[in-house]
C-alpha cells in the first residue's frame, strides 16, 4: 500500500495509577489502508484508541495528522480532525429513530428552531444508503439487529466526513452474514481512500482484510508487519512474546481430591456447555478470549446468573445456588474481575471491606468489637503485605495491586475453600503481579481450590496446574500444564 501518511503516532506513553499502559508506542497509518492492531487483553490497544478519540490524554509523544502536529484535547476535537471510533457498545439512543440518532445534536432547524423532519429524513436516507442499510429512517434503534446498528454507526462516522475510522472488535457480536456485509463495506471504504484501524482477536479476519499489522504487548510497541505475508504462527509468537521458561513455572505442588465438579453447565448468557473440575490444592487456569463465557460460567455457579442446565457438585454432593450468599455459606466465593464495580465498597475503609464477608466473626455479645476488627484487619494486612498507611484508609486510595489483596483478604476471611478469581491481576503493575502469583500458589499449597480466569496467557501457564480453555461458550480443551505452549492454548481459544 503506498498511500500517503495520514496519521503518525510517535513514542506515545500513558501512565495510569499503578500501571504504565503505553510505553513508547508507534503507529503509522496510510490512506486507503486497513491497519490491524493486535495484542492480548491489557496490551494497550484500547488505551491507544482512547488517546486518538480524545477520551484519554497522552502523557508524552507526538501525534501528527497529515504531517501536522496536533494535540487532541477531547472527543469533539478528535471528531473534527476526522477521527471516528466504532465501539463495541454503540452510542445510540434505543428509543430514537435512525434519522434522529444521526442528527442528534445537529438537527436541521428553521429560523424558529423548529426541526425540519423532511430534510432530516432525506439526508438520513442518503447517509444510510452509503453503507447499504436497508431500513426506513424512522425505524427505532431498538428494532435493529446488532449488525444494522453497526452499519448505522459507520454511516454516522461517514456523515462526519471522517477519514480515519477505528473499529474496536467489530465482529465480536456479529453473525457470519453481518460480518460479510461489514467486510464488503470496509473494502469499499478503502477504495474511497479512508484509513481504517481495526482491532480484532480473530486471525482469519486479520489475514483477510488487513494490510498492515501492529502488535502491542504490555503497553510496548513490538513490531509492525505485513498482514498478508506474515504467517499465523509468527503473529501468535509476536503477540505472546517471551517463551515461557520452564524454570519460572511455580505451580502448586500437590493437588488433592476433587472439590468442585461442573458438568454440562448451560447458563442464561453465553455459556453453552462447560464441564470441568477443580481439586483442592490446585490452581485451575481458565483461558479464552474475552466474551468466551468464562465469567458467566463462574457467575452461574455461585448463583449470580441463572443456570439453565447442568450439574454442580461440591465434594460429591449436588448443589445449586440462588445467590452468592448461599454459595459463600458452602465455601465458594467468586471474586469479580471488576474490582471497583463488583469487588470493593470504595467509600469504606480497608478493615470494613475485609470484615464484610463474615461480620459474625467480629461481634462480641451484641455489638461489633472494633478491637477484633482492627486485629483481624492488621493480621491480613500483614499476611498479605497490603501496603496502606493504616487499616482505616479508604480502599479507593489504594493501588490496584493492594485493592486486589484486600479482595483476597475478604475471600479468606469468609472461610471459603473454593476461590474463584476473575482476572486477578488486571490493571496491576508487574511487581505487584508477582506478589499476587506467590499468594495464589501459597494459598493452593495450603489446600484451597483455586480457579483463576485470566486473559494473560503467560500468567496462566506460570501458576496453573491445569488449563481449561473456553471458546464461544464451550470448553474447547482441558490441558495439563506440562510442556504446554502458549500457541497451543491460543489455538484452542481462537479455534484456528
Amino acid at each position: 500500500m503506498g498511500g500517503e501518511l495520514v496519521l503518525e503516532m510517535k513514542n506515545i506513553s500513558k501512565q495510569f495509577p499503578g500501571v504504565l499502559a503505553l510505553d513508547g508506542v508507534n503507529l503509522q497509518l496510510r490512506a486507503g489502508e486497513v491497519h490491524t492492531l493486535l495484542g492480548e487483553n491489557g496490551a494497550g490497544k484500547s488505551t491507544l484508541i482512547k488517546i486518538l478519540s480524545g477520551a484519554h490524554k497522552k502523557d508524552s509523544g507526538e501525534i501528527l495528522i497529515d504531517g501536522e502536529l496536533v494535540e487532541i484535547n477531547g472527543p469533539k476535537h478528535s471528531m473534527k480532525l476526522g477521527i471516528s471510533v466504532i465501539y463495541q457498545e454503540f452510542n445510540l439512543n434505543p428509543y430514537f429513530s435512525i434519522a434522529e440518532n444521526i442528527f442528534l445534536g445537529k438537527e436541521f432547524v428553521n429560523k424558529f428552531g423548529i426541526i425540519n423532519w423532511k430534510d432530516t429524513h432525506a439526508q438520513a436516507r442518503k447517509i444510510i444508503d452509503r453503507v447499504g442499510l436497508k431500513r426506513s429512517t424512522s425505524t427505532k434503534i431498538k428494532d435493529l439487529s446488532v449488525g444494522e446498528k453497526q452499519l448505522l454507526e459507520i454511516a454516522k462516522a461517514l456523515s462526519l466526513d471522517s477519514r480515519i475510522i477505528i473499529f474496536d472488535e467489530p465482529t465480536a457480536t456479529l453473525s457470519a452474514k453481518d460480518v460479510e456485509t461489514l467486510f464488503d463495506l470496509i473494502e469499499k471504504l478503502k477504495k474511497e481512500n479512508k484509513s481504517i484501524i481495526y482491532i480484532s482477536h480473530r486471525m482469519e479476519e486479520i489475514k483477510r482484510i488487513g494490510d498492515k499489522c501492529t502488535v502491542l504487548r504490555d503497553g510496548k510497541y513490538i513490531d509492525t508487519v505485513d498482514a498478508k505475508t506474515t504467517d499465523r504462527e509468527q503473529l501468535i509468537r509476536l503477540i505472546a512474546g517471551r517463551k515461557i521458561d520452564e524454570s519460572v513455572k511455580k505451580t502448586p505442588s500437590n493437588p488433592g481430591n476433587v472439590v468442585l465438579e461442573v458438568e454440562s453447565l448451560k447458563a442464561e448468557e453465553k455459556v453453552e456447555d462447560a464441564s470441568f473440575f477443580v481439586r483442592e490444592g490446585e490452581i485451575l487456569g481458565f483461558s479464552g478470549l474475552v466474551g468466551s463465557g468464562r465469567t458467566e460460567a463462574m457467575k452461574a455457579i455461585v448463583g449470580c446468573m441463572k443456570k439453565i442446565d447442568g450439574e454442580v457438585k461440591l465434594n460429591g454432593k449436588k448443589v445449586s445456588y440462588k445467590s452468592p450468599c448461599n454459595a459463600m455459606k458452602d465455601g465458594i466465593v467468586y471474586l469479580s474481575e471488576d474490582r471497583k464495580k463488583e469487588g470493593l465498597v470504595l467509600c469504606m475503609n480497608v478493615k470494613q471491606n475485609i470484615s464484610l464477608t463474615n461480620l459474625k466473626e467480629i461481634i462480641s455479645k451484641m455489638a461489633f468489637s472494633t478491637k477484633k476488627e482492627v486485629k483481624l484487619a492488621k493480621k491480613y494486612v500483614g499476611d498479605l503485605k497490603i501496603k496502606c498507611s493504616s487499616e482505616n484508609v479508604q480502599v479507593k486510595n489504594l493501588s490496584g495491586g493492594n485493592q486486589q489483596k484486600v479482595i483476597i483478604a475478604k475471600a479468606l476471611f469468609s472461610k471459603a475453600k473454593v476461590l474463584i478469581f476473575d482476572e486477578p491481576t488486571r490493571g496491576i503493575d508487574v511487581g505487584a503481579k508477582d506478589e499476587i502469583y506467590d499468594l495464589l500458589v501459597a494459598l493452593a499449597n495450603e489446600g484451597y481450590a483455586i480457579i483463576m480466569i485470566s486473559s494473560d496467557l503467560p500468567e496462566v501457564l506460570k501458576i496453573s496446574n491445569r488449563v481449561v480453555v473456553m471458546r464461544e461458550g464451550k470448553v474447547s480443551a482441558v490441558l495439563e500444564n506440562e510442556n504446554l505452549k502458549q500457541e497451543e492454548v491460543l489455538h484452542y481459544a481462537m479455534g484456528v
Binding site: 471474586l335 469479580s336 465498597v345 467509600c347 464484610l356 461481634i363 461489633f368
Partner: protein, 311 residues
Amino acid sequence: MGKFAKILRNYGMYIGFGIIILFFSLSSEYFLDVYNLMNILVQSSLIAIIAVGQTFVILTGGIDLSVGSVVALSSVGTGLMLVAGVPIWLSIILGVLIGMGAGLVNGATVAFGKVPAFIVTLGMMSIARGAALALNNGKPVSGLPLEFERIASEEFFGIPIFAIYMIAIYLVGFFILYKTRLGRHTFAIGGNREATKLSGINVPKNEMMTYMISGILAGLGGVLLTARLNYATPISGNSYELDTIAAVVIGGTSLAGGEGGLIGTLIGALLLGTLRNGLTLLNVVSYYQQIIIGSVIVLAVFYDRLKAKNK
C-alpha cells in the same frame, strides 16, 4: 489547600448552624431563652426521630416518601384504639406495629419485588393517607384518656420528655448503624450493591429491614404526635417525608447512598427546627419561611457537591 478552607470543608455544616444561631441570638432577645431552646428541641424532635429511619433507607440508596402518611395512619389507629378502651401500653405498641407493617410492605416490594423505592413509597404515601382518612371517615379522633397525654408532657429535670425520646432513639440508632451487622450492611449496600452481594450478604433482606426501621419510627412518631396533640387527625404528618429527607441531606448523607450518618441527620433536623423557630420569632411570615428553608436545603446539598468535587 489553606487551613481555613480545610476547616470550612470539614465543619461547614456546624459552622453554618453556628452562624444561624448567632444571627438569631443577636436579632431576637427571646431566642437564647432556655424555654425557647427547649421549645426548639421539642419542635424538632419528631422530625429528628423519623429522620433516623429515613437515614437508614437513604444510606442504602433508597428513599421513603410514605413516612408522613404513615404517621397519620398510626396516629388515627392509635387514637381509635384508645377511645375504644384498649389499654394505653397496648395501643402504643399496636400504633408502632402499624408503622412497621407499612415499612414491611414497602421494604418487601422494593427489595424482593425490585420496584423502585420512589414509586413504592409514593404509592404507600397515598395508601396510608387514604387508610388514615377511611378509618374514621376523615374525622379527627378526640377524647383520648388524659393518662395517655402524659407520655408527651412529662419533664425530667426541666428537660421535656420529647427531647429524651429523641436522644434515646438516636442512641439506639447509633448502636444499630455503627455496631451491628445490619448497620454495616446498610452502608455497604449503598456504597456498592454488587460488591456487597458478592461478599455473601443477603442484600434484599437487609434492604427490607431499613424500610421496616423507617416504618417503626414513623409509627412511633404517629403515637407521640397523638399524645402531644391529645387527639388524632388523618391530616397530620403532612410533608414530614420532605422534612425528614431535608434533615438527612442537610446532614450530608448522599442520596446515592453509602456515605453519611446519623450525627449529620440530627444536626440537620435541629437546624431546620432552629430556622423555623427563629424566623417565627422575627415575625417572618410563613410563606417566606418556606422560601428560606427551601433555599437552605439546596445550598446545603450544593455545598456537599463542591466538597465531593474538591476531594
